[in-house]
Amino acid sequence: MYKIIASRMIVPNMHILTIEAPVIARQVQAGQFIILRAEEEGERIPLSVSDWDRARGTITTIFMNIGSTTSRLSQLASGSFIPTVVGPLGNASEIEHFGTVLLIGGCYGIGSLYPVARAMKEKGNRVLVVIEARSSYLFFWEDRYRVLVDKLLHITRDGSKGLKGHIGRIPEILTALDEPVHRVLINGCTFCLKRGSDATRELGIKTVVDLNPIMIDGTGMCGVCRVSVGGMTKFACVQGPEFDGHEVDWAELAQRRKSYMAEEVIPLRTSKCEEHAHQSEEVS
């Protein structure tokens, strides 16, 4: 069992969870993920790691409350336990001295992008960060970014902070920067990754995306996370999760991610009345 050290809603519908997992905290690198189950009957879901504390033996993840597992997770109080946390899985981000890097984080991707920004900075890169959300009240960790990176820019759908619109405005940002960018890296939802990659394709800037397909075991056994990259089938859990955004078959990925959209929320709607009735009959 793994202890929840801290749990709270960080912005509406987005949660931050810190879990005691010393062996994972010791090993984890920027770009890696964990797989967890929120309860015994629960599904295994992958979540990016947004931060860790090696000394305290904790890892932190930020996720959107969207299906039955994330809903359950978001209800867990500090001090409670969950049955499975396994990791760190996937390959670490490719971190080198590239020169100037533009890192883009959308929604929950703002969280998982943070360790990448930190590692890129440690390698001596000039680090520019763009964070993107529907509205300014959905931003978090701006203070952490502000002290870490060389420049922090915003895009909001409603224009309440920074540029108005979505990630499609990246080319304008790149033009306005007036300095060469050697690499772009995007964390966020599939739509954000795709639109971001589309935006940099013509500019010819290498763009790395952190993919988030459905997974079960996360160790290369089940194959549900397969994605087409450059015409080849890749298994995101062991060969990713980072890939060249200009090579990914986005239509296929978006489709595959939707496979269980209907089912993802069904466990939320079951009241388990029957089960409970049986239990109370047994008691009485």
């Binding site: 090993q27 075991d217 160790t219 089940c222 194959g223 994605v227 489709q255 496979s259 993802e264």
Partner: protein
């Protein structure tokens, strides 16, 4: 008092759920022998002086001895004899291909009345479980040595069981949240109830085997860092990336690897969705590509989930690699067999779900390298088969995680860990390996056999020998 017996050549059948009932549930198909049936069957054994069955058992169980115990109704002694060599009898009695091993060389096989050794083994294991009391073997004093076992499947469980009985401390590191490997994620409930796997795993724990689940060696901790703590390690990390045919349309929604399909069902209990939260679709027409035991498991699972289920196999019935018992079970339950049929591509609907498979008819030509007649396509024989799910059950490569993170560990062409066939020794000091990670997809008992050999070699090494 033994008189010359008249040979009884009638194998006692094991009572089963009728096909028309069992194809709608996930409960175990076969009920197992009653005491009477087990004793009757055991009495048919002629107690050969030179017991070929023992030689043909990968873990060398003293078969005539335990059979005699059953004939004498001394069940406690019978199970004790099996457990000297096999710590997982309830599992092996169910899923070993006995027809290719012990029973194949039974003297009675000449008259097609080979003894049902597996069924008797199963009977004894279940009999013991029903007693509610399991005899605990004596554990010798700690040798001071510690062994890490990577992977809690059949190979790893065997190594753990063997080495704990020799006084070593054993720790199993399992990547998934449950111990058992393919026994829990792969083999369905109706063929191997998970309660039975749990029972055998609990037995190992009660012997003192330490277990870490959710621990991916190579990721959570490297092999080399583990070896700073442990005197030896056994790698039995099992299956890796599933193979696909590399034909168009395999990434459509509704096309599964057998590993995914079975893991959703078995490990994650998808058949109990939404009580368990991992979904599995209620497909209407499922095609399973392949002809092995895994393909049979998938096809029979699909039936139980309410689908019309077919096996698509490029050779003929003769060449099916699955166990005959599983083929017959599948046929009885109503799985459709499309023999001499090769999928060419899958077509999807507008939302990216598979809607049909285009297949080509084959005929058998000259024998190929495997000695089986090579299937040759018949020109112009393409047809479209409507399906809403396809399960690709054509095998998998060995798990890559240890190989790719352990410097100096020699790998074969297919990414398998190179290990000596007799000892399980790898190219690295202190590391042994066995099971699917060495051989590619094989059977539970072969993995256990490899575990047994490696355990012997590890023990010798730990006690000061060189493990040869």
């Amino acid at each position: 008092m033994t008189e010359k017996k008249v040979l009884d050549l009638i194998r006692r059948e094991m009572p089963k759920q009728p096909p028309e009932v069992r194809k709608f549930n996930f409960n175990e198909v076969a009920f197992g022998y009653s005491e009477e049936l087990a004793v009757e069957e055991a009495k048919r054994c002629i107690q050969c002086k030179k017991a070929h069955c023992v030689q043909n058992c990968p873990v060398e169980i003293d078969i005539p001895a335990f059979i005699q115990c059953v004939a004498d109704r001394n069940f406690a002694e019978g199970i004790r004899i099996i457990k000297q060599k096999n710590c997982l009898p309830a599992i092996c009695g169910r899923v070993c291909p006995q027809e290719d091993q012990c029973e194949k060389v039974c003297t009675l096989v000449k008259k097609e009345g080979q003894l049902a050794i597996g069924r008797i083994e199963r009977f004894l294991a279940d009999w013991e479980a029903r007693q509610g009391h399991v005899d605990m073997p004596e554990i010798p004093e700690w040798t001071g040595k510690k062994v890490a076992v990577i992977g809690g499947g059949p190979a790893g469980l065997t190594v753990a069981g063997d080495l704990i009985l020799r006084g070593h401390k054993v720790t199993i590191f399992e990547a998934l949240h449950k111990l058992g490997g393919v026994l829990v994620y792969g083999i369905p409930e109706f063929r191997l109830p998970k309660a039975i796997v749990n029972r055998e795993v609990d037995y190992l724990k009660s012997l003192g085997v330490e277990v870490y689940t959710d621990f991916v060696v190579g990721k959570t901790q490297t092999m080399d860092s583990l070896l700073e703590e442990y005197d030896a390690a056994f790698v039995g990390s099992g299956a890796g990336l599933p193979w696909f045919m590399e034909i168009p349309g395999e990434n459509l929604n509704g096309v599964y690897s057998a590993n995914e399909y079975l893991t959703r069902l078995n490990l994650m209990k998808g058949y109990l969705f939404p009580t368990y939260h991992t979904p599995i679709k209620a497909h209407k027409r499922v095609a399973v590509v392949g002809g092995g035991n895994v393909a049979m498991d998938c096809a029979r699972s699909a039936l139980r989930l309410g689908a019309e289920s077919r096996i698509v196999y490029r050779r003929s019935r003769e060449e099916l690699p699955a166990r005959m018992e599983e083929i017959e079970n599948a046929e009885e339950e109503g799985v459709i067999f499309d023999f001499l049929t090769l999928p060419l591509r899958y077509n999807g609907d507008a939302s990216g779900w598979v809607k049909e498979m285009i297949v080509q008819k084959m005929e058998l030509g000259e024998p190929d390298a495997s000695g089986r007649r090579r299937p040759v396509p018949i020109e112009g024989s393409e047809v479209a088969v409507p399906v809403d799910a396809v399960v690709c059950a054509i095998g998998n490569s060995p798990n890559p995680l240890i190989g790719s993170t352990t410097p100096g560990l020699l790998l074969g062409k297919k990414g398998n860990i190179e290990a000596d066939e007799e000892t399980g020794k790898t190219s690295r000091d202190k590391i042994w390996a066995g099971g699917d990670v060495v051989t590619g997809a094989a059977t539970v008992i072969l993995a256990m056999g490899a575990g047994r050999k490696a355990a012997n070699s590890i023990h010798e090494y730990l006690m000061g020998g060189d493990g040869e």
